[in-house]
Structures are given as C-alpha cells and as structure tokens.
Symmetry: C2
Subunit: 121 residues, 2 copies
DNA sequence: AATCCTCCGTTCAGAAAAGGAACCTACACT
DNA sequence: AGTGTAGGTTCCTTTTCTGAACGGAGGATT
C-alpha cells in the first residue's frame, strides 16, 4: 500500500516481475476479494456500497482493493453524479479481458464445489 | 486453520457455501500462494522443497497451504520413498481440472502484465 | 429548520495471518 | 563424527484483516 518513497518490496510485489505470466497476473488480482470485486463488476455492480453489501468484506479492505484495482488499470472510477458527488467503478478493457479466467474459475467451482448448505446452527 | 471443534466461521469459510461458483472456487484456491503451488504442480514440481525454492514462500505458510490443498482434494500426498521417507504432492483429477482457469490467468497475465525488470538498485 | 438517511469513505483497537530464522528428525554420504 | 538433504515445526516480530464507530456532503422527511 505504501507506494510512496521506496516501500519495502514484499514478496507480493516481486510477483509483478516474475517470469511466469500467471504469477504476474496474481500480483494484481491474486487476492480473494479482488477477484470477487471484479466478478461483481461483471454482474453489473459498480458502487462502493453495492460491493460492500454483496461481499460482506470490511469497508476498509474494500477501499484498499478498489484503489489498487484502479491503480492497476483494471477498473476506472468516475463520478456518475455531481450534485451529491457519487462514484462508479467500471471495468476497463483490461478488466473485461479477465472474463475468460473468471469463466475458468466458475466452471471449476461449478464442477468441483457443489453447493452446500451453510452449517446448521 | 482451526478445524477442530466449532472454529469461528470466517468470512472466508462462508464463501464455500456461496451461491456463486466463482466464490466457492475461491474458498479453496483463492489465495496467492495456493494458485502458484497448483501452477508448480502443473510444471512438474511435487516436493516440499521444490515448491519452497520456486515460490520463496515461507515454509510455515507452504506447509499450511499444502495441507489444505490435500484436505480439499486438489492434491494428494504419497510417500514416493520409504527408506528415507519422502513425500510427493500430486494433482488429483480435481486439481488437473483447474488447468483451464490457470490458462485463463496465464493469458491475461501475458497480455496485460508485460515483463518488467525488477526495480534497479 | 431540524432530523434522518444514503453514499463513500477513514480511523482505531484488537485479532489473525504472514514473514524470517532457527530448530528437529531421519537417513545417506564421506 | 561431521555434512548434507528432505520435510516439516516452533518461536517471535511485523503486517494485514476485522469489526465497529465516526465523518462529511448532500438529499429527503417531518
């Protein structure tokens, strides 16, 4: 998160320069919530509170992930209303290109992770 | 990690019962290292130290991820040598089925995350 | 006009996870 | 006896996440 000055390069940041394209991809979207945010974008969601309610992620983390996604060019943030200033996060071309990977995940989940009832209380 | 008794259901565990197959998939492989371990398996790696050297992940985390992957049926752990007892982690059918998703990630990384030189010192 | 509500965050303290390094067991080699 | 390899485990420190509260700006409600 500390992009100022010369923040310590975490093992994560190192992935961005890995020889393997999978690793480089993960350096951007290799986080649980990040992928789900992108999924929500494909499902038409675009606002902070929509993501928050849909995912149940803490607002803190959501804000950080959205910021990073914009920085990485996966999403763009524009004001869709000026009077009460409101922002919408939309997929860029780069973000939309993520569709095939998402489909891969979806198919795998569909096949190998059958729906289970939440543990009864 | 606390599978004993009734460990607190983290937001993560809840993903396993999500309506969305992508979320359910992520509940198993939605971790940076986990996906890279699976990638390494596709590249022919199978031993603890191979993963560790390849990924640079701490042994602590690697042990936890491998254990979870075996528990989730993505990998299986067999002794390939008895005299000095040595183990190999191999993809199961479930694990092999992850190939398309991995290819999706690879293609995206290849297209949108060009190789960059590590920051010069 | 005062209060409530929505949207988009930020801040803070405590809990959980990751990182780094050392340690351990078992066997083989020299 | 000492060194090396494989597969972990343990311990302590640092980082990140969670949960809940707070804030500000602009409607909408009463």
């Amino acid at each position: 998160m500390e992009r100022n000055g010369q923040a310590k390069a975490s093992r994560w940041d190192e992935l961005a320069t890995d020889w393997c394209p999978v690793a480089r991809a993960l350096s951007v979207i290799g986080d649980r919530w990040t992928i789900l945010i992108v999924r929500d974008c494909f499902l038409g969601k675009s606002r902070f509170d929509e993501f928050q309610k849909s995912l149940g992620v803490t607002r803190h983390v959501l804000a950080a992930r959205l910021k990073q996604l914009v920085e990485d060019g996966v999403l763009e943030r524009n004001a869709y209303s000026q009077k009460p200033v409101r922002y919408a996060y939309k997929l860029t071309d780069k973000g939309r290109d993520f569709a095939p990977a998402l489909v891969g995940l979806k198919d795998w989940g569909k096949k190998h992770m059958p729906i289970r009832k939440p543990a009864a209380v």
